[in-house]
Symmetry: C2
Subunit: 272 residues, 2 copies
C-alpha cells in the first residue's frame, strides 16, 4: 500500500513537477534506479555538448560569502556535461563569513591539478586578506590558471586573483567597496560593471553579480540558447522589491549602513 | 617579518575592503581577537533591532536546489541579530539535486522546536516528491509553523508547505513548471509573482526568486532602510545578459530545453 501510494504519487509528481517527466520518462518513483533507467533526451538536442565533460572547480576558503560560490554553482551545474567540485585547502566543511553555514569541500587543492573552469569567490575582510596572503593557495590558483579554459572570480575574489598576479595589466571588476583597493594596489583597470571579461579571465562585481557572470560564462561555453534555457530553468527574472543594489546610485549613509551590517554579521559570536 | 607584513597587509586590507574598517576599527589583523575587540557601531543606528535575536532556520532535505536555501541565507544572515541555522532530518552534509555539492546541516529537526523564520527550499522532482511524502518532515514543519513569525518557501518548497496543509485556502506561488500541480492538487490560488504573501506565509517562485523574497522579508522584519542596505551589501543590482527568466514570455521550445537541462543535471551519475 505504501509502495503503491508512493508510485502513484511519484508518477503524478513527475508529470506535474515536469522535470524528470520532461526528460522523456513517464515514471518517477523517486528511486535512483528509476532515474538511471530513464531514457533521457539526448543533450545533443539541447546544446550539442553532451559528451563533453566540463570540470568546474570552485575554491572555498575560510570566511567566503555564501552566495559567491553557490549562485554560480547553481547555474553552471546545469551546463551539459558539467561537474561542479567544491575545493579547499583541506577537505571538509568550510565556514562562511557569518560562521552560520558551511559548504563541504569534497576535494583538497593537492588533489586537483586541472580544471576547465576555476571560480574564486569573495569573502569578508578577514577571509579575503587571509587568502591574499596564503601563498599555497595563490600557487595553486596560478597552477590551475595555466591550463584552465576560464578563470573567474566573484566579489573580492578578484583581489585574490590579483594577489596571485593574474590580473596584471587587465581590466577587472570587484565588490564596490573594494574598488579603490584593487585600483590602487594592483596594475588593474577597474570597471564598475556586473562582470568584466579580459581574455579568459572573467571577474564579477559583488556577491549576487556572480549569477549574471555565470550566465554570461554559460553562453560562452555552451551558446546563448543553452544559457537562456538555464536562466529559465532557475527562473532568473529578477524583481527585487527595491532598487538599492547599485553603489554608484547609493548615498553615503546607505553605503555606511551596508558596510556596518556586513561587519556586524561577520562579528565572531558564539552560534547556537 | 612575516608578522609585520601580515599586520601591514591586514591594516591596509581592512581600510580598503572597508568592512571591518567601516565598523569603527582602523585595524584588522585578520585574527578573531581583533574582530571581537573591534568597537562596533551600535546597530540601533541601523535598524534598532540589534538586541533582538532572530532565529532563522532553513530546512535542507535530499535533492534541494543549491540556490534555494543559500540565496535567502546570504541576505537574511545580514539582518541585525540574525542567526541562520541549516536544519535537516539528520545532521551532516545534505546533497543537492545535482549530487555535486553538499551544505552541512548543523541541527536535526528533533533538536529544533522553535524558529522565528522557517524557510523550505525547493528541489528536483525526486527530492520534492520525497519531501511531500515524508510525514516526519511535514509534522515538524507544521509544529514549527504553529509559533513561527514567518513561514516561507522557495520554488517547489511551496508544494512541501502545501503537502503539510499550510497553504489551504491561500494564495501562493511556486516554480513555473509546478504551477499546474499546485493549482490542481491543493486548495491554493496560484499567482505568477516573484513572491506572494498570505498572512505570515510567504512563497517565492523558482530558485532565484528566493533572493527577491528574502529582501521583501527583510523589509518586513527590519524595515525598508535595512533591507535596502542589505541589497547594497550584496550588490544586488541584477543585470543578466539575457531576458529569458520569465516563463510567461518563454516559448515552448525554451521551456522544454530548460526542463531537459534540469533533468540531465539531476541524472544520477558517478561523480569525480
Amino acid at each position: 500500500m505504501t509502495t503503491r501510494r508512493h508510485l502513484l504519487r511519484g508518477a503524478v509528481g513527475t508529470a506535474a513537477l515536469a522535470t524528470v517527466g520532461a526528460a522523456g520518462t513517464g515514471t518517477g518513483t523517486g528511486t535512483a534506479q528509476a532515474a538511471q533507467a530513464a531514457p533521457l533526451t539526448p543533450t545533443v538536442g539541447t546544446a550539442g555538448t553532451a559528451s563533453t565533460a566540463l570540470d568546474i572547480g570552485i575554491l572555498l576558503y575560510d570566511g567566503y560569502s555564501l552566495l559567491d560560490p553557490t549562485g554560480p554553482a547553481e547555474i553552471l551545474s546545469r551546463l551539459p556535461g558539467a561537474t561542479v567540485t567544491m575545493i579547499a585547502q583541506r577537505r571538509g566543511p568550510v565556514l562562511t563569513d557569518t560562521r552560520d553555514v558551511a559548504v563541504m569541500a569534497d576535494r583538497c587543492i593537492a588533489d586537483i591539478d586541472h580544471l576547465d573552469v576555476l571560480l574564486v569567490p569573495g569573502a569578508g575582510n578577514r577571509g579575503t586578506v587571509a587568502a591574499m596572503e596564503n601563498q599555497e593557495l595563490l600557487r595553486w590558483i596560478r597552477r590551475i590558471d595555466r591550463h584552465s579554459q576560464w578563470t573567474t572570480s566573484v566579489c573580492t575574489g578578484s583581489l585574490v586573483l590579483a594577489a596571485a598576479g593574474l590580473l596584471d595589466g587587465r581590466q577587472a571588476t570587484t565588490y564596490w567597496a573594494s574598488a579603490d583597493y584593487l585600483r590602487t594596489h594592483y596594475d588593474v583597470t577597474y570597471l564598475p560593471e556586473r562582470y568584466v571579461r579580459s581574455g579568459k579571465i572573467i571577474t564579477a562585481a559583488g556577491v549576487s553579480a556572480g549569477l549574471d557572470m555565470a550566465l554570461y560564462l554559460a553562453s560562452l561555453i555552451a551558446g546563448d540558447s543553452t544559457a537562456k534555457a538555464i536562466q529559465l530553468a532557475v527562473e532568473y527574472d529578477p524583481h527585487p522589491p527595491f532598487d538599492a543594489g547599485n553603489a554608484a546610485k547609493a548615498d553615503p549613509e546607505l553605503k555606511q549602513q551596508a558596510l556596518r551590517l556586513l561587519a556586524e554579521s561577520q562579528e565572531v559570536t558564539p552560534k547556537r
